[in-house]
């Protein structure tokens, strides 16, 4: 089952601009996480936001969570070429009696110099 769905699937912007990616999910959650994946590498955890939080910051990253709309957004400010990567949201879901992370399909972000 696919819990999180990212939008857009691909995003291309100029260096220095802000990048916004969205994630929608279907069921209630305890928390939502964002991960980054550079080409040919594994995923790296960026930030976690709990269901009782509305906004969280980490450096140039800002995550919002709207549980009434079952959606989250990741904003990267003042983008850099090194931000070029795929970004995934992940939510916890009960699968076969145990709680696991379910990842969306990701947004592929390209930062043009």
């Amino acid at each position: 089952s696919q819990q999180g769905e990212e939008d857009p699937q691909a995003l291309s912007i100029q260096e220095g601009e802000n990048a916004t990616m969205n994630c929608s999910y279907k069921t209630s959650i305890n928390n939502l996480q964002w991960y980054r994946q550079n080409s040919g590498r594994g995923l790296v955890h960026l930030i976690l936001i709990r269901s009782n939080e509305r906004e969280k910051h980490s450096g140039r990253l800002r995550v919002t969570l709207d549980t009434s709309k079952k959606s989250s957004s990741l904003l990267i400010t003042a983008s850099r070429a090194a931000d070029t990567a795929s970004y995934f949201c992940a939510t916890d879901e009960m699968i076969q009696g145990a709680q696991k992370l379910v990842f969306g399909q990701g947004t592929r972000l390209t930062i043009n110099p």
Binding site: N30, N31, G42, L43, L101
Partner: protein, 115 residues
């Protein structure tokens, strides 16, 4: 990659042959996971382990088996590889499952091609 080593990093094999992928961690984390990543499907959970000799199925477990005889090693076996198992396989670890903080740390991946 957070003390996680996947081997091999690349493998080409033929349909019908057995294949074993290895994940080794040096973090002493309790939970270990195997995912596959395919275009259009994102990451899908194959199997996971919540302790030595304790494993369970994930979303796409058919055709795969796992074993965990030591805390640090989690093996994924394709008993008889098929072309549909061509994919990139990721191992992940975490110290807390579910609930409040199931942050997972990923290996670099194994690219498997089944011809």
């Amino acid at each position: 990659d957070a003390g996680i080593t996947q081997s091999p990093r690349h493998k080409v094999t033929e349909t019908g042959t057995p294949v074993t992928l290895r994940c080794h961690q040096t973090e002493n984390h309790r939970y270990m996971y195997w995912y596959r990543q395919d275009p259009g499907h994102g990451l899908r959970l194959i199997h996971y382990s919540y302790g030595v000799k304790d494993t369970d199925k994930g979303e796409v477990s058919d055709g795969y088996s796992v074993s965990r005889s030591k805390t640090e090693d989690f093996l994924l076996t394709l008993e008889s590889a098929t072309s549909s198992q061509t994919s990139v396989y990721f191992c992940a670890i975490s110290d807390v499952a579910g609930g409040r903080k199931n942050i997972q740390y990923f290996g670099a991946g194994t690219r498997l091609s089944v011809l």
